[in-house]
Symmetry: C2
Subunit: 394 residues, 2 copies
């Protein structure tokens, strides 16, 4: 299609867009049950819109925004059981995990064929990163209950291992790996220990406050070197915003890319991207101040309530069951018989339920985001019962 | 710093932010002369704010936004002299260049030690990409006039070369490499040819319409396989938005990452990121429709007018000169004597001029973005004269 010579009016364009985009799914419709993203918080939206021009790729131009990032990283670091944590916002968990994997590789130039050990439940971004970085990914098996087979994990560590990864909130089920046990495996070694809490980072800190007992997963485990956590997932911040949180400046001192020509002066980038949104940093700073600990806790409380509601309903339906007891606001549904969930997924999708299919683990994932209401779940349970009957699972 | 237990009021937070961020530099103040980013167009801002929740990392949820992306890529492809161009928006030029470099490497698994030939003027993102991908970067010299030494470039191509890169709008001076000549070097080879037009992509197409004669740089050169162009630079779109434009689906068919578990269904990612802004796609679609060819041309016209104004003024000042005749809205200032520009840069920075320092090429870069007005340049020239005198360059 050729570009128009003369532009259209704003009004006309907005009308076209309204029509064109009408068939996109809407978080508010109640049919999106399988997404880890949601509508950003209204206040975060407002603040972002005010500061969207800020470019942290050239921090000398926006020194106060850069300071705000430091403060926010520090505050999040403390939420994650650390002190003096450094790092920065990223475009999301994938960039954050890539940065961590690069650190793991580049800290060990002595290893010619670097390997990183991850659980089989690790996010796709580790496959992407390994592909980019020329790292061999060693994937540790899961046990039947989807927990990490820690003995197998340990057996994969060898003299080529430059990094190990634990997941605090797996993509498929929201489970937390035994971070303390992995930590012990790397004590007194030069192996970098990264925790991927892209989703869990803004859920787990609030669970103990709500009376849930959860395993240690953060900087409180002293061997943990870095953590990924995404403000644009459960932090309700504007897309794109991830975060990489690093235990100490020493770790990255020699690993940045020097950028000498910026308008703001000389700077070192740890990032893959050059131009880098500052608006999402300001909006998340503002959101943390607005919600406070209590605000986030209330949101998680509500998500967990809905999670328990759905758990109970699923337990009542013959033919399907929970893949695991949910630890956070993620649920896995599988068949009681062990039959493939593919048909179930297909039929539910026909009923317009947008879910996550994990064929490898034979489960359908539901993420109980803040946009998911109990009424949506009631509708879903009704359809689930019908579909289970229709395809003869019960 | 610890997170607040109870949040503050929105009003209070906005007050704090206004105060805190007051010392960030402002594009409108007229002192930012060295940035390739600017204030996004107001209409793009408005549209983005309406659609910021859209996540193209899960395109099945937003199929109409995904279609809009296809259309926009197609339209930009045509602007770049191609037909049936595929590709997508990225988080910026660095991710786009990384994707291109990965394609170059992965299309040639037969090469054990892959090399890519780039001009010495290539952007930092090629160094980053090469570091990540384990590619050896071969940098071709520039001639004294900052043009690519094409013979040296050719001499660096060997049996390990999986890719070559030409720049259409160098970071330092906005020059365009001899894309046709590079194209001829890779005719009938399996070497991938990528053009980095991150900045130039939304300048060059409009220059011939304004009567400027420019070298061929785009898909009109038949050997060009892919182009990087950033909507968030001269496209005036919201940060972060880059773009990777690829000549044919065949090139990438085997190179994506399969993501099976998305709420929207099965999809293949070419990207490094997972969650991916859809709002910037919608806003740029809208901006292209709003400005049309004429709107962009008028903006470029104005930038070029200011560029010529500044060129003339610099030519009048004894002690400094243009590093090269500007081809687009980027100017390089160097010393007539060949003396280092470091002191000049330092003194100008003391006068609060935010410029780009390219020590390697001994030049100070000025980017005449749409936020730069002639009055800003008048002020700058006045200070430049003073500083040149003060440090005895004349």
């Amino acid at each position: 299609m050729k570009m128009l010579e003369q532009g259209l009016s704003k009004k006309k364009i907005e009308e076209i867009l309204d029509k064109k985009l009408a068939k996109d799914y809407k978080y508010t419709s109640g049919s999106i049950l399988g997404s880890m993203c949601t509508i950003p918080h209204k206040f975060a939206q407002k603040i972002f819109c005010k500061y969207m021009h800020k470019n942290l790729g050239d921090p000398g131009l926006f020194p106060e925004t850069a300071k705000l990032e430091e403060q926010t990283v520090d505050e999040i670091g403390e939420l994650f059981g650390g002190t003096g944590i450094v790092g920065s916002f990223t475009t999301g968990g994938s960039e954050a995990n890539l940065i961590a994997m690069r650190i793991a590789r580049d800290r060990r130039p002595d290893i010619k064929h670097p390997e990183v050990v991850v659980p089989l439940s690790a996010h796709m971004s580790f496959d992407k990163s390994a592909d980019l970085l020329g790292i061999k990914l060693r994937k540790a098996r899961l046990k039947n209950n989807f927990e990490l087979d820690i003995d197998h994990f340990k057996s994969l560590i060898n003299e080529n291992t430059c990094g190990v990864v634990g997941i605090a909130g797996t993509t498929s089920l929201g489970l937390v790996d035994p971070i303390e046990k992995i930590g012990k495996m790397v004590t007194d070694t030069d192996i970098f220990f990264h925790v991927d809490a892209a989703f869990g980072g803004f859920v787990l800190p609030f669970l103990p406050q709500l009376g849930y007992s959860i395993p240690q997963w953060d900087f409180a485990v002293e061997q943990v070197d870095s953590i990924t956590a995404d403000p644009h997932k459960m932090g309700l911040n504007v897309i794109p915003s991830g975060g990489i949180f690093i235990k100490s400046e020493n770790i990255i001192q020699k690993l940045g890319f020097e950028i000498p020509y910026l308008a703001g002066g000389n700077f070192k980038h740890l990032h893959i991207v050059g131009t880098r949104p500052g608006g999402t940093v300001v909006s998340f700073w503002a959101l943390m101040k607005y919600l406070g600990n209590k605000g986030f806790r209330d949101i998680i409380h509500n998500c967990m309530k809905n999670t328990h509601y759905l758990s109970k309903q699923i337990n009542k339906i013959d033919g399907v069951k929970l893949a695991a007891e949910p630890l956070m606001n993620i649920l896995g549904i599988t068949t009681e018989s062990g039959e493939s969930i593919c048909e179930l997924d297909k039929m539910l999708r026909k009923h317009d339920w947008m879910l996550g299919k994990f064929e490898e683990f034979n489960l359908i994932r539901i993420v109980i985001m803040p946009h998911v209401k109990q009424s949506h779940l009631e509708n879903f349970v009704r359809d689930l019962e019908i579909v289970v009957k229709d395809i003869g699972l019960n």
